[in-house]
């Protein structure tokens, strides 16, 4: 088994997170099919066709800028061999500074910001580095348990070179006391792996007079270590 035995990966069944109760599979997962194509994927093709849109403080279409504490979120995407992953496609979405999403189903009684959609896209450069400018998202209440609040977070969806390295995750902020109360964060069994979900404040990324910097590196799991065996390499 590849994911199930690694404590970096949350179990599907985690009753403290109520929505898992009727959605987690009840039968054991089967070993995956082994195709030569598992080491390829749609990521590189998608990355080539998508226009980067990485400044969420000014991409809402109006003349104004988003309200909130401006931040820079940057990091390196690496594969399981520790090598940087160029041309990884990263899509993000997040709540605004008041803890409200631009979404019909978000009923939280907090203001929308006409200058913030909370949506961005970028592609890693030749060194595997990505960079977004946004605002720090607010915490928001949810119905999981009495007085439940999600810690501040940014959602990330990442396509690396291989289908098997597909990752959807959430980035959290350092020093947030809500993390230890959050069943989604706590679903990751290994405490060291949980810490990898928390960005680090990075003063070297902070731009004087403009925005605070945070570093969040992303480690992709999958089969990238055998990339030299890809048929497309002709080796």
């Amino acid at each position: 088994m590849r994911r199930g035995d690694d404590p970096s990966f949350p179990p599907f069944s985690f009753p403290e997170y109520r929505s898992t109760r009727l959605r987690a599979p009840s039968m054991p997962l089967l070993p995956p099919p082994r195709s030569v194509w598992e080491q390829m994927g749609p990521g590189p093709g998608l990355a080539a066709e998508i226009a980067p849109d990485a400044d969420l403080t000014r991409n809402a279409g109006g003349a104004g800028t988003a309200i909130g504490e401006r931040i820079i979120v940057t990091g390196t995407v690496i594969d399981e061999a520790g090598d940087p992953v160029p041309r990884a496609l990263i899509e993000i979405w997040q709540a605004n500074a008041a803890g409200r999403y631009v979404h019909d189903e978000d009923r939280h009684d907090a203001p929308l910001d006409p200058n913030f959609t909370g949506i961005g896209t970028c592609v890693t450069d030749a060194s595997g580095i990505y960079r977004f400018v946004t605002v720090r998202p607010g915490a928001y209440p949810w119905g999981n348990h009495p007085n439940a609040w999600r810690p501040a977070h940014v959602h990330l969806s990442i396509f690396g070179p291989a289908y098997s390295d597909r990752l959807v995750t959430q980035m959290y902020f350092p020093g947030d006391p809500l993390q230890e109360l959050d069943p989604i964060f706590n679903s990751v069994p290994d405490p060291a792996a949980r810490r990898r979900l928390v960005a680090r404040y990075a003063h070297d990324v902070t731009e004087p007079g403009v925005a605070l910097g945070f570093r969040f590196d992303v480690g992709l799991a999958g089969v990238a270590a055998t990339r030299s065996e890809r048929p497309s390499d002709g080796a």
Binding site: G82, L220, S232
Partner: protein
């Protein structure tokens, strides 16, 4: 595994604006080589209720997938990425239009039956759920090395049925007696 993989977290209920910014229910371009097909189905929870906030992501090969000298990154139909994405509607239904995929080489050198690779994402799913969709009229259980290894009584959960109008249907059941086969991938 990555020495230090970043753990996955649920996609949550608010992904639509970002992940479905562009419509990707039509996977193959209009001029792609191959038989045009349509497929739809519902995502259902452990009580048989529709999951109305799921994201179904599929990836497929083009018709020439099994060619031994195949090279390059553009593996989908006619130079496309081959990625499909569909949110689920109020009935829990996803839908795609594309061309029938070709047969991909398995790691043992044999040819797999045509299929879609599938990831299901949703609130309440802490990681992506991986499965495949085969097509009943290809007799996939008879020719596919992976499907052959799946216990016989569960194979049908991986195979789309075809109606009189030629459309495929395939429900994805997250939990319960008729649970879809999911992989640890």
């Amino acid at each position: 595994m990555a020495r230090e993989p970043t753990p996955p977290q649920t996609v949550g209920p608010f992904f639509h604006g970002s992940m479905l910014r562009q419509s990707r229910t039509r996977i193959a371009p209009d001029d792609a080589v191959g038989e045009r097909i349509r497929i739809d189905g519902r995502v259902l929870d452990g009580e048989g209720r529709p999951v109305t906030d799921a994201l179904v992501e599929v990836w497929q090969a083009d018709v020439a997938a099994g060619d031994a000298d195949r090279a390059g990154d553009d593996v989908g139909p006619d130079g496309s990425a081959g990625l499909g994405r569909s949110g689920t509607d109020r009935e829990g239904r996803y839908r795609f239009e594309t061309v029938r995929p070709g047969r991909v080489l398995a790691s043992d050198g044999s040819l797999e039956a045509p299929h879609l690779e599938v990831f299901v994402f949703a609130r309440g799913l802490l990681d992506r759920l991986a499965t495949r969709i085969y097509f009943e009229d290809d007799d996939p259980a008879g020719i596919d090395p992976f499907l052959h290894a799946v216990p016989q009584e569960r194979r049908a959960t991986l195979i789309a049925t075809r109606d009189e109008e030629g459309r495929y249907h395939h429900d994805l059941v997250l939990q319960g007696a008729s649970e879809t086969v999911f992989f640890d991938a």
